[in-house]
Subunit: 489 residues, 2 copies
């Protein structure tokens, strides 16, 4: 028989797969008919100029997929039935079809406001986000490979909804070194970002009409997760020492409060650190009034001046703190690795609830991250990033001072990835719009304020752009400032 | 100066990282003090017997991490301040501490039954689960590497909560080839397993006290997701043609039904295929009564006898079907890649809701799976698995017939990964317990029945064990059968 294989060698992967794919395609197209005899492995190997073992492997693959059959002592033949049978219709109206109906044939009983990502630009000063050009892609790719090679099928199977044991242990060790918390594995749950940790805790802590205190300037995605329970959120003021705990105390005289959600370390968005006195008072109040403190410690490691402060959770003797962390800032937000440290009674219920939602985390990613922790790559990466962000902060501060002087007032943030600046008497919305036209994105107070009102504040991030880009972005901000000033005056 | 580096070369990864780690450790331990001068790169390279560029790279790493400082024309010195400052306490009671409190200092407002994984054993016949020893680990590891190399930072960033565009396109093409549906990317949402798709759809479709019809033998994790909304579930009988649609029709005369959840292709757990007449009637009823059909098509591809049937979604002209699929069976459950095909009005709201819960999927995994689809690896893997499972089904069927004859009655399932067998007059719970003692796990009717009652049925899986293991497992099942019979009689 004559058999010419149209072999395309530009596909990635092993040669035997390419040969098998070419034969399968010839069968699928009808060039090789059912029952036809295929050349022997030796003959085909010679005609293709490859090692015979490569053809043997290709035939084994084709047999495993059901394209061919080998009959002992007789040879290799195209299988009589094709492996990929087309599905059958159950009615004339059944597919194949090119469209999903545009309209819904049923009512939705609940609406959710559509998700809108904040506008971004080439010079991205939205704040809070790390520079993913510095993320350790190659190291991460190796970690995936090692994890899959080491743990194989177990990673791809159903597993513990609290997260992979070795990652829970690794996170515990990391928290012990860096944050004065040394949780056992049973005190830790790995979540998909801090968002899931907060969402799960909220579902268990809150019922409709329960009261939750939040910062009057804060993190709106967290508020949405908490209010999805039907709970009512009450804003508490934030000043230069963080949450005004005496205002919370006043609220407690009037209402039962079930939980307080806050960002004590680098308050989001103002970057202030909650003072020691207020920390102690908050813990006392929680014990006395039996409310939960949802402590969101999202970027603890990025602290530049002096030492970072230990989390509230490190002084919790009463079981009132639910500690929520994330690797979104120190590693990358797209990995969606967050964690919660809490008494096991809460961790177990969070895990049971999560089973209903998504069953478990992505174990391949969890194992890869556990590798990065255990071999020290994560700690090294954090040190590199801290140093880079420290330098970037200093560049941004000096550029803003040079361009704006007194027209933009801010304290140099001791940590975090952004600064919070006041522009007295300026229409910051017009400024931000003019900046976007010049390819610079910043965010204004209204994105963070509980009441949604406009106020003359900007959040300017320095984590995502390098030093040269920050210089250029500051210059563009200055031009946008003059333009938006002119357009107003 | 004399400087002897205690270099451990047994760590994985590049040599320059090992050298940097050794120097950093000496600084951390105080063997190298702040301000001390380090040897030149040439001298250190010679003393270590490595290329000078390796030492240059190690010094660059150490500088990036903040351990050392290079002063032009003067040399390299240990930095004056240590990069990893210990955090400071804010009170005497603040950590470091070794324990998280055991008791909660606040009330939980909602309880969730603790999660219990079903018991498993060496011979795992629990059914429905694929054999992960056959999962393509190495191919997957390469796909992660390619995806991270190609897409880099973008994968690690925030992205579309509906899932990565290229995976939505790839899934659409796969559904078009295999399932007679050709959705546009906007009709597809990638979810974390079918569980999240079902959970999200349920949250939007159902309010407390709404009625949902489900199969009287079915998939309990789906029921829990649906009833978490406060909706009331109503079981509908299943017979040898699948869901008894006339029973649903009777229910519709008495109650407003908001949704029907079912597994029409290989009914879970009985494996029967919903008949064509019932399919058409169900679609008519949905259009007329404006309820949603939640079609869970969890293992469509594993069909052995005749052609698989197209999904209900392929004949939906009224926008009533929410089509839910998963790669848990065809690839691996641990990857948590599921998908929903529905009109964009629903997809967009599901995405907005998911932002509150976990923001977005694992994009590295989504990109790796998109690679497996586009390069044909997934299709090849499905063909290999189908062939393997077909052979395993035949072995299990013949072994069970040999060991049990008429005492175990079943139809040979046309597809799926398990069979549903009746053991008339047998205490199947006692049998399953005796089997577990012999290291064989099977599941009984009560795990699947809506009313939780015991009935003389077993679900016996053949996906997870190879042919030899199935023979051994069947022999052990037979011994357990005699034992449990004796213990009863």
């Amino acid at each position: 028989m004559s058999f010419e294989l149209a072999l395309s060698l530009d596909r990635p992967g092993p040669l035997f797969v390419a040969i098998a794919a070419a034969v399968a395609e010839d069968i699928a197209r009808g060039r090789l008919v059912p029952g036809a005899r295929l050349p022997g492995t030796r003959a085909l190997a010679e005609s293709l100029g490859v090692h015979r073992n490569t053809v043997v492997a290709a035939y084994a693959e084709l047999e495993a997929e059901g394209w061919i059959e080998t009959q002992a002592a007789r040879g290799t033949f195209v299988a009589l039935s094709r492996p990929a049978d087309r599905p059958r219709r159950f009615a004339k109206t059944a597919g194949p079809r090119s469209e999903v109906p545009r309209r819904l044939g049923f009512e939705l009983r609940r609406d959710v406001a559509p998700f809108m990502a904040p506008p971004t630009a080439r010079f991205d000063l939205r704040g809070g986000l790390p520079d993913l050009r510095l993320a350790p892609h190659a190291v991460l790719a190796r970690a995936y490979r090692r994890a899959l090679a080491k743990r194989g099928g177990a990673l791809l199977d159903y597993g513990d909804p609290r997260g992979l044991g070795e990652l829970r242990v690794g996170l515990g060790e990391m928290l012990s070194t860096l944050r004065g918390l040394a949780p056992a594995a049973d005190d830790v749950m790995v979540t998909r970002g801090s968002q899931m940790g907060l969402w799960l805790a909220g579902q268990l802590l809150l019922e409709p009409d329960d009261v939750v205190a939040v910062e009057s300037f804060g993190y709106a995605p967290a508020w949405r997760a908490l209010s999805s329970t039907g709970a009512r959120l009450r804003p508490i003021r934030v000043d230069e020492q963080g949450l005004v705990v005496s205002d919370l105390e006043a609220l407690l005289t009037r209402q039962r409060v079930r939980a307080v959600y806050l960002t004590p370390h680098h308050q989001y968005p103002t970057t202030v650190v909650l003072s020691a006195g207020r920390r102690l008072r908050l813990l006392e109040l929680a014990r006395e009034h039996r409310f939960a403190i949802l402590e969101d410690d999202y970027d603890n490691e990025f602290h530049y001046d002096g030492r970072p402060v230990l989390p509230l959770a490190s002084a919790d003797r009463a079981g009132v703190v639910v500690y929520i962390g994330t690797l979104s800032k120190v590693l990358a937000p797209g990995l969606r690795i967050g964690f919660v440290v809490a008494p096991p009674a809460l961790v177990e219920r969070m895990a049971a609830l999560r089973v209903q939602v998504d069953r478990q985390g992505d174990q391949a990613t969890e194992a890869a991250v556990a590798e990065l922790i255990s071999d020290g790559e994560l700690a090294r990466h954090v040190r590199r990033m801290r140093r880079a962000f420290h330098a970037r902060r200093d560049v941004l501060v000096s550029e803003l001072r040079g361009h704006f002087g007194d027209r933009l007032r801010f304290r140099v943030p001791a940590g975090g990835l952004a600064l919070w600046a006041r522009a007295p008497g300026v229409d910051v919305e017009a400024w931000a719009t003019a900046a976007l036209a010049r390819d610079v994105s910043v965010r204004t107070a209204k994105d963070f304020s509980f009441d949604g009102r406009r106020r003359p504040y900007l959040r300017i991030g320095f984590g995502r752009m390098n030093e040269d880009e920050l210089r250029e972005a500051a210059a563009r901000l200055a031009r946008a400032f003059s333009e938006s000033g002119r357009s107003r005056g």
